[in-house]
């Protein structure tokens, strides 16, 4: 799901590059055409993103209170101020979940970047054979929905059905579970990121490599010393996507949860939001947690972007 946004983001960033810096247009006459063209997108955005967001924001400041009587018939919504936000921020489980998410991110993001870069550079190597097939094979897991992938890996992890040594290795151990969850996520996204990086490598001018070759650089040196620095901006983008993906961790742990005792219903922040809203039926606290998460996600995105630009900028 994150990918839809990612692709859109990628498109806008290229559009920004391609667009002429100054557009000299005659003063626009009042015309309905632009409005009409933009209207469907705006209407959909307002209806399905802005309006629900505003509703969620309102919900996050409410609370359910039951009436009098044993079973408290006649429950009503009352204004709760910041109570829901305070509950979330003071909940040990929220921060523990955030910690677990960060552990997964700390393993997953570098692993994704490493493998995506490695595969991209290997595919671009001169001696690489069966490039088309291999590229497709690496990309294919991305086409498997996260839930299906998690079920598939879950079967491989469980001792009774494991073909990969689940009888000896405890994939659902207290430490092992982090690697098991990360593995599913990384397996799913490496292919997509590899394609981005591969495209970046392919678009580099070939005469650079010819020159390097004439100077006596080996294939490995060309890859590490020339290609790698030149695709740094693309790697930054991949890192950004991976961080956002890690913040949205939900499918993999949720699907693996019923298989073992290792994952709770509040294992990562998004699972806690889901549990609050749809299991404990406190949609109000769920909304508050969501907004806290949105603020964190946006901050993290901006941070990665800024840091990434700095790094990319330094290399030019």
């Amino acid at each position: 799901m994150a990918i839809v946004e990612d692709e859109a983001a990628a498109r806008t960033s290229t559009a920004r590059v391609v667009a002429p810096p100054t557009a000299r247009r005659p003063k626009a006459r009042k015309s309905f055409l632009p409005v009409a063209l933009v209207a469907p997108a705006v209407v959909l955005l307002v209806l399905f993103t802005v309006a629900p967001a505003i509703y969620a924001l309102i919900l996050s400041f409410l609370q359910m209170k039951v009436g009098s009587g044993l079973l408290g018939g006649g429950a009503t919504e009352v204004f709760a101020g910041f109570a829901n936000y305070v509950t979330t921020l003071t909940s040990g489980e929220f921060w523990a979940g955030l910690g677990r998410m960060l552990i997964v991110a700390l393993i997953g993001v570098p692993a994704t970047i490493f493998f995506a870069t490695l595969f991209a550079l290997c595919l671009d190597a001169k001696r690489a054979r069966l490039v088309g097939f291999t590229r497709l094979a690496i990309f294919l897991p991305y086409a498997v929905p996260g839930v299906v992938a998690s079920l598939l890996w879950g079967f491989m992890y469980l001792p009774a059905t494991s073909p990969i040594g689940g009888q000896i290795i405890n994939y659902f151990g207290t430490t092992g579970i982090f690697f098991s969850v990360t593995n599913v996520a990384v397996w799913g996204v490496v292919g997509f990121n590899m394609v981005i990086l591969y495209t970046a490598v392919r678009s580099l001018p070939a005469d650079l490599f010819e020159a390097a070759e004439l100077d006596g650089a080996s294939e490995l040196q060309i890859a590490v010393r020339i290609k790698l620095p030149l695709i740094a901006p693309a790697i930054t983008m991949v890192a950004l996507f991976s961080v956002i993906g890690a913040l949205q961790l939900f499918n993999e742990p949720t699907t693996l949860k019923p298989l073992a005792n290792a994952i709770s219903s509040t294992w990562v922040p998004l699972m806690r939001v889901y549990t609050e809203a749809f299991v404990n039926n406190s949609i109000y606290e769920g909304a508050a947690s969501s907004f806290i998460l949105i603020i964190m996600t946006v901050s993290a995105t901006v941070l990665v972007n800024v840091v990434g630009r700095r790094i990319a900028g330094r290399q030019h």
């Binding site: 039951v66 079973l71 429950a75 406190s282």
Partner: protein
């Protein structure tokens, strides 16, 4: 989270169409002179297999009250929370299935209505313990459908080969557990499951626990009471010794173990033979049901795991007709005969407990022709909590998390009960219930 938008649109359109139809329906009924000639259409949400047969039977016999059966998109609390949310929008079905432990929550959210003025006197055909699941403060909110006493299922072939018989007390169960595991280190008498809060609640009921009690309008929560701690400590011992496996039920791992004979016993409930074909298909005819082991020899008290009632929602425009159907479904021998043969229900209605249909054992248990006699005896000795709390969903979720964590980290199970207690009390207080202590 973004994908369902299209579905939402579809649903919204559907709701709109339904509302439009309801509106036109209203106008029609207002202008019509003879109200008794009006055909009433009711919707009924239920996820049990075999329910369609009973609905068809009713529709044939009652052309004036036509029922449409809907399977919910999610079962259990997914459905109940949806009912609570949709209650305000007025889009709930007329009749819904509710598991006993969720009924108080639906009452406190005004989702279901009292049916006393529409129903006959239920005390003639239902035991007190069954009625206590649907009657609160003198009001009746549904007709109990079934009783699901807990029973012990075991692999008779394996027990026989070790010279064991079904354990009658929990002490014997523990001894048998050790013998079975010693004879074959791969084999276990059973598993302690963190995914089934209702299972553990049933074991606590047998031990005399009362997770919720009420006096006047005040609740007392006792999830970490002495009786429940006794149960937790007992299982703790078995898990620590390693003679019971701490794996959760309903996983591919569990199915494989049940099917291959690595797990040779299951503390289950009346409905287990319905689940066996999908859990352990190759073992048909090898399992035998026995009375649940007792804490003291000769005490026949057992808890329940599961069980449901049908309730009428506040959104229903025809509560009288809906209640009539509910009463027929769960309080008539003809409907019960269908439910027994189609869904292997054990009826809560006492008259239906001696129906000829019960003489046939469930298909998975051909070797135990008196299966339902055992259920009838167990049903008489059922002990439940005084009442289920209005936020049993929070308690249940807390069970899964706290017990899973305790099993994973090898910390005391009784401490997990304290976590459940505090989560439940905190939530009840937050919602505004009066809680003692």
């Amino acid at each position: 989270m973004k994908k369902p938008t299209l579905k939402h649109v579809g649903a919204a359109v559907g709701v709109f169409a339904a509302a439009a139809m309801a509106l036109t329906g209203c106008t029609a009924s207002n202008t019509s002179t003879a109200d008794s000639n009006q055909v009433v259409h009711l919707t009924f949400t239920n996820w049990d297999g075999g329910m369609q047969a009973a609905v068809d039977q009713w529709n044939k016999a009652n052309p004036k009250i036509q029922i449409t059966l809907n399977k919910p998109s999610g079962t259990g609390y997914t459905l109940y929370n949806k009912l609570i949310t949709n209650n305000k929008a007025g889009t709930n079905p007329d009749i819904t299935e509710v598991e006993y432990q969720a009924l108080p929550a639906l009452i406190s959210s005004n989702v279901v209505i009292p049916l006393d003025k529409y129903l006959p006197d239920l005390s003639k055909n239902f035991s007190k313990s069954s009625l206590s699941q649907v009657q609160f403060q003198g009001k009746t909110y549904g007709v109990p459908q079934n009783i699901c006493p807990m029973v012990f299922f075991y692999r008779k072939d394996v027990f026989d080969s070790l010279g064991l018989t079904a354990p009658t007390t929990w002490d014997e169960y523990a001894k048998d557990a050790a013998i079975i595991h010693a004879a074959n280190p791969k084999q276990y008498i059973g598993n302690f499951t963190s995914t089934d809060p209702g299972w553990f609640a049933g074991l606590a009921q047998q031990a005399g626990a009362n997770w919720w009690t009420t006096s006047g309008n005040t609740w007392t929560v006792g999830i970490n009471d002495a009786a429940t701690k006794k149960v937790a400590d007992y299982w703790q011992g078995l898990v620590t010794q390693g003679v019971v496996t701490p794996e959760p039920s309903w996983t591919p791992q569990w199915s494989t173990d049940m099917n291959s004979g690595n797990i040779v016993g299951w503390v289950g409930a009346q409905w287990a033979p319905n689940q066996f074909p999908s859990v352990a298909k190759d073992t048909a005819g090898k399992w035998v049901a026995a009375t649940l082991p007792a804490w003291t020899a000769g005490d026949a008290t057992v808890g329940i795991w599961g069980g449901e009632t049908e309730a009428v929602t506040a959104n229903s425009k025809y509560p009288a007709q809906a209640a009539k159907f509910v009463n027929w479904l769960n309080n008539s021998n003809e409907a019960m005969t269908t439910l027994i043969t189609q869904a292997q229900v054990f009826p809560a209605a006492t008259a239906a407990q001696s129906l000829p249909a019960l003489k046939t054992p469930p298909p998975f248990m051909p070797n135990q022709p008196d299966y339902n006699t055992l259920m009838a005896t167990a049903a008489k000795n059922v002990r439940t909590f005084q009442i289920w709390g209005p936020d049993a969903n929070v308690t249940f979720d807390s069970y899964s998390n706290a017990f899973a964590a305790a099993l994973q980290n090898k910390t005391p199970l009784s401490a997990a009960l304290d976590v459940m207690q505090s989560a439940t009390v905190t939530d009840m207080k937050k919602l505004g219930f009066k809680v003692a202590g």
